[in-house]
Symmetry: C2
Subunit: 202 residues, 2 copies
DNA sequence: CTTGATTTAGACTAAATAGTCAACTATCGG
DNA sequence: CCGATAGTTGACTATTTAGTCTAAATCAAG
């Protein structure tokens, strides 16, 4: 599953063959088919694992209720550019969001992968939405519909990631944090925002 | 090229084979290789044609200098949901932006397709950017950096399209127009905006 | 019509790919 | 140590796929 994720993330779902995955994982085809029926089933399992073992814990930490809602969003936004840069430094490529990439690629085919990517995207969104709702309620964001505000923010983020991947340039994400806060309509002026930034590395 | 575009758009670049394209175009392999060296070269030609024969004329019309800058942006935004719905009605699927989909899929491979998708995305952006710049200059948008404003808007749009494709639901784009104007920071209140809409079908 | 150039057809090869299978090996509870 | 279960292996088949090649067909101009 790790090998499959890496390959699919750095290339695309369609470009990766079962032979590639077996080679990368140093496993023979027979072993592969002992555990999985097909590439599709493997992809679903791998995405499921990605969510449960990697993303969910991280999201639970970032969006912990012990942190102020606006601060959660700040931390989330700041992490995007940081992780993209790290990945680019590690693999030499701007990779973007694997779930969005795969989701877009197979989204027209109504396979099991679609169900899984949709599920993960919706789960992720829920974290953002509840933080946005709370932040609007506690007055740290301008009043408005939290659902729409979340749609705008998450679409913006996905669009930025998509573009960074297409252009192979993580630097496109440099101002994502700042732009994201602007989209969110933070009440306090940017000067105050800037002064508050050091607190985000807690 | 038409057959290739249709297939790649409705599925993905990796999922479409030369045989598929030949079958769809009702052409034999020998003919294909008489005109093209490979699937990649065909894709580049097809994307180039898509831009020159389809997108560029449309963009030139929408972003005509004879129209007020804000009005250009309005028309552009309104067209996205409309066309997505039409396509969904025609092919039964929410397809999104073919250039963005292909660009994301092959973006990590540094092939000729990448160059072409990047070129098209940049060209498209220039239309939006100049309209945003003019709209800020003439006071119909709040003051700010037109480049950043454009990045935010286009990323938002691409993110929405990506999501609509992943979810196979064009209705996600229903409020794109309104949300886009909010992101653009239109100066006049939404009531006035609403009253001005009928003028957009000119 | 004739000729030469362009285009098409379809059979062909070689490689890649998905998927199968029976034999083999490791592990683990008793 | 035994037997059983779980896991591994590599060779195997069938299919798909990219790409080639030659002969036939079409076309355009004199």
């Amino acid at each position: 599953m790790d090998a499959a994720l890496e390959l699919v993330w750095s290339q695309s779902y369609g470009a990766v063959t079962i032979d590639d995955i077996c080679k990368k994982a140093d496993v023979k085809k027979g072993s592969f088919y002992y555990f999985f029926d097909s590439k599709e089933q493997l992809a679903v399992s791998a995405l499921d694992r990605l969510w449960n073992d990697d993303w969910k814990p991280k999201m639970d930490e970032i969006f912990s209720a012990s942190v102020e809602p606006l601060e959660r969003l700040r931390t989330y936004l700041a992490g995007i550019y940081r992780r993209a840069s790290e990945t680019k430094a590690r693999v030499g490529r701007m990779l973007g969001c694997p779930v969005a990439s795969v989701g877009s690629e197979v989204g027209t085919q109504e396979c099991n992968i679609c169900t899984k990517t949709r599920e993960i995207i919706n789960r992720k969104r829920r974290y953002v939405e509840s933080a946005v709702r709370e932040a609007i309620a506690d007055g740290s964001l301008e009043p408005g519909d939290p659902v729409k505000r979340t749609v705008v923010l998450t679409s913006f983020i996905e669009g930025m990631m998509l573009q960074a991947r297409t252009m192979n340039d993580p630097e496109i994400l440099k101002d994502l944090h700042e732009m994201g806060l602007e989209i969110l309509r933070v009440k306090s002026p940017p000067e105050v925002t800037l002064a508050a930034v050091p607190a985000s590395n807690s």
